[in-house]
């Protein structure tokens, strides 16, 4: 029993954080808002050079063969800087899905796309019906789209897309018009369902980890703002009301981290408890992100309501993640199914046996 990350994992997280905090600034994010795609090839190259696009790609495919658990601290840091790039989606959702394809056609797809992803040459995005829209379809080299109990792989010439602007200017959501065809079919029936369920879990896990980072960032920004901002002759951060608004966020955040790490472990180890662990993680992490948005906004006063103050970059992402990769009620439902089942493994001593 060892519920801690290794030195290496923590050191890598640190180096990635250092890079991201320096490279992905509020200024660079706002600059991307003004571009057509809202995405930066240069940034993607840098992420590739850091080995982040290759992390979850199997070694046989030119990757580092790491798991969702290895990647989870990185996803957290991507949230901390509100990374305007689909790294978490590709590393946690697309790559493992491709990697689980079987049969000759499956092998072919893997061979074609996984090394390309690892080398940063290709972006593959997954569109599941539960998500309604498809992220980053405009810069995707391949889309994996769900239709009922089947999955199809489409290249850009095989679909057209319409942008649906999100309140988060960094978020690029598209409605896709496309046709199913046997040529594009990559999985169906039980096998497809299995891939879809796995993708939902990993997508929700990624968003949960990002939500932890977003919450921490909103806390950090607000702690420094309230230390500088003076009213009534002292920093507003010295007022008990402001302190307690922030402390309440800190408490929730502290108790949302370990559920996310447990879920990452469960996904990586394919534990039976993965579904309930992921839903717990998603609910806890997005809930603290909502509270962080609400309380840090309040501590910023009118400043927090402006376009120019950077809080909005993180607050709006926190909002939209509340219903991304499974709405709140869907995750609640998965938790109740587990908790209220006959002979449910709950109570003292059950945490690590399920």
């Amino acid at each position: 029993m060892n519920f801690t990350f290794t030195e290496d994992q923590l050191l890598f997280q640190e180096s990635v954080r250092d890079f991201l905090v320096n490279e992905v600034t509020a200024e660079s994010i706002r600059a991307l808002w003004e571009t057509d795609t809202g995405r930066s090839d240069a940034l993607w190259e840098q992420l590739t050079e850091l080995g982040l696009t290759a992390m979850t790609v199997p070694e046989a495919m030119g990757g580092l063969g790491m798991t969702a658990l290895d990647f989870i601290l990185i996803a957290q840091e991507c949230g901390y800087v509100a990374l305007p790039a689909p790294l978490v989606h590709i590393a946690l959702v697309a790559v493992p899905l491709l990697d689980q394809l079987s049969g000759d056609s499956g092998e072919a797809i893997k061979q074609q796309w996984l090394p390309a992803i690892a080398e940063g040459r290709a972006k593959v995005m997954v569109g599941l019906e539960q998500n309604v829209f498809v992220e980053d379809a405009h810069t995707a080299d391949l889309l994996i789209l769900q239709k009922g109990q089947a999955l199809y792989a489409l290249t850009p010439e095989q679909f057209s897309y319409t942008l649906n602007e999100s309140v988060d200017p960094s978020r690029k959501l598209y409605s896709i018009s496309w046709q199913t065809s046997d040529a594009n079919l990559i999985a169906e029936g039980g096998q497809a369902q299995c891939l879809i369920d796995g993708a939902m879990n990993r997508g929700a896990l990624g968003v949960a980890a990002e939500a932890l980072g977003l919450s921490q960032r909103m806390i950090d920004m607000t702690v420094s703002y309230t230390a500088d901002r003076q009213q009534f002759g002292k920093p507003i951060g010295s007022f008990q009301a402001v302190k307690h608004l922030m402390a309440n966020v800190a408490v929730k955040l502290e108790f949302s981290k370990t559920p996310v790490y447990k879920a990452a472990y469960a996904v990586a180890e394919q534990l039976l408890s993965a579904n309930v662990n992921v839903s717990h993680a998603k609910l806890a992490a997005t809930e603290v992100a909502q509270l962080a948005a609400k309380n840090t906004m309040q501590c910023h006063g009118a400043m927090g309501y402006t376009w120019e103050v950077d809080l909005q970059i993180f607050m709006k992402k926190a909002w939209v993640y509340n219903n991304a990769w499974g709405v709140v009620s869907w995750h609640q439902g998965r938790v109740s199914d587990f908790v209220f089942a006959d002979q449910a493994a709950i109570g003292a001593g059950s945490t690590f046996v399920a």
């Binding site: 539960q130 309604v132 999100s166 009213q231 009118a302 309501y305 120019e308």
Partner: protein, 389 residues
């Protein structure tokens, strides 16, 4: 206690409803945080004035109807039920107007109230300064009497001035006694925004629109007859305004009753998905109950005032209640809308869900402006409950 409307009140309601049915634009006006939207709302104010609906509680000679507060509540109910445009001049008619009734000279009333009722003069507030937000007594912007005693020379900066970008006039507080500190030595002055030396810098808000602005004053010469109340006694005048702001007029219950109603409809349209989260149904009926509670308390207060009563410190509870109610209702709508909640109004797949997003964004400002809810809680604890400072 008699909770039946009088025949006159029923007749008045019918008259309002008819006029609104005939005049409210079918297409909602563009947001008044845009240039064209502001103009459209300005024209709507003029249209209201034509029907003598500009500010019905004012005397007829000032463009009103001498209506009482209960008629005002009825008017507001019909106004929101008809989906009529927001009042672009609310700072004037709801905040400055009542203050001027109390502190203005006859000349000022004639001059300014009519301008408000007609929609000719749109007003903005000039209270906050970069270092005087929650701590309003820290105001530093100066107004010095000119040697000839004819003008105030204003220098300094104001901020968070809602709708200042296109407004005609600003009212606010300036330090007329340079030696003074805190609440003392401030004066309540009315400033035409077209004067030389004034520059306005728009501040884009969460939705990107310039809903408020900074105002810079560089040796601006304001005629002395723009002083409201006594010189150096502006604080008490301002407190009266704050009273109205927190109190009866700033936010009509009707507004929240309509939001609650729309929330109920949204819930019914999406019941299958909404009921998946058991918390949503409770949140919806709570929205209804809280909007009702706000309405009931407002009616009680109005009846008390009509009978000669006064607004007390308990009015500080209003601001907290409606601002949290508004935010909670919109948060509930966001949950019901699920994955589509984040779409901007003009997104192809939005199908009007965007109105809820706009409302959600706007509701974020409720707990902050007009005195943050933390300040309000202090006021409630100290002035209403009598807890030690």
């Amino acid at each position: 206690m008699d909770l039946n409307y009088t025949e006159q009140q029923v007749a008045f309601r019918a008259e309002v409803r008819q006029w609104l049915a005939d005049n409210v634009p079918v297409e909602p006006l563009p947001s008044f945080d845009t240039a064209e939207g502001f103009q459209a709302h300005r024209e709507w104010e003029a249209k209201l004035y034509e029907g003598h609906w500009g500010m019905i509680t004012w005397p007829e000679e000032m463009g009103g109807r001498g209506a009482d507060l209960l008629q005002w509540l009825i008017f507001e109910e019909e106004y929101y039920a008809a989906g009529a445009p927001l009042r672009v001049n609310q700072n004037g008619i709801f905040l400055l107007g009542p203050t001027m009734m109390e502190y203005g000279t006859e000349a000022q009333k004639q001059r300014f109230l009519t301008g408000m009722a007609t929609g000719k003069d749109i007003w903005c507030q000039a209270w906050s300064e970069p270092n005087a937000g929650s701590d309003m007594a820290a105001i530093r912007a100066k107004a010095e009497l000119s040697n000839d005693g004819q003008h105030y020379i204003i220098n300094g900066q104001k901020t968070w001035s809602t709708r200042a970008v296109w407004a005609d006039w600003a009212f606010g507080m300036f330090r007329t006694d340079p030696e003074s500190e805190r609440h003392r030595g401030l004066s309540f002055i009315l400033v035409p925004l077209d004067l030389e030396g004034i520059s306005v810098r728009p501040i884009p808000q969460l939705d990107g629109l310039p809903g408020f602005a900074e105002i810079f004053f560089d040796n601006v010469k304001v005629p002395v007859d723009c002083l409201l109340g006594e010189e150096d006694k502006g604080w008490s005048v301002a407190m009266a305004t704050a009273g109205f702001e927190r109190g009866l007029m700033l936010r009509s219950p009707a507004r929240f009753q309509q939001t609650a109603k729309r929330l109920v409809e949204l819930y019914k349209e999406n019941q299958a998905t909404a009921d998946a989260d058991p918390a949503v149904k409770n949140a919806v009926i709570k929205a209804y109950m809280d909007a009702e509670a706000y309405t009931l308390l407002t009616y009680q207060t109005a009846c008390r005032l009509v009978q000669g009563g006064k607004i007390g410190p308990e009015s500080s509870t209003n601001k907290i209640f409606w601002s949290e109610l508004d935010r909670d209702m919109h948060a509930t709508a966001m949950s019901i809308l699920g994955a589509r909640a984040e779409l901007l109004a003009h997104a192809p797949a939005a199908e009007n869900v965007g109105n809820w997003l706009d409302g959600w964004l706007f509701s974020q400002s409720g707990p902050i402006y007009a005195g943050t809810n933390e300040i309000q809680r202090n006021i409630i604890a100290e002035r209403m409950l009598g807890m030690p400072r």
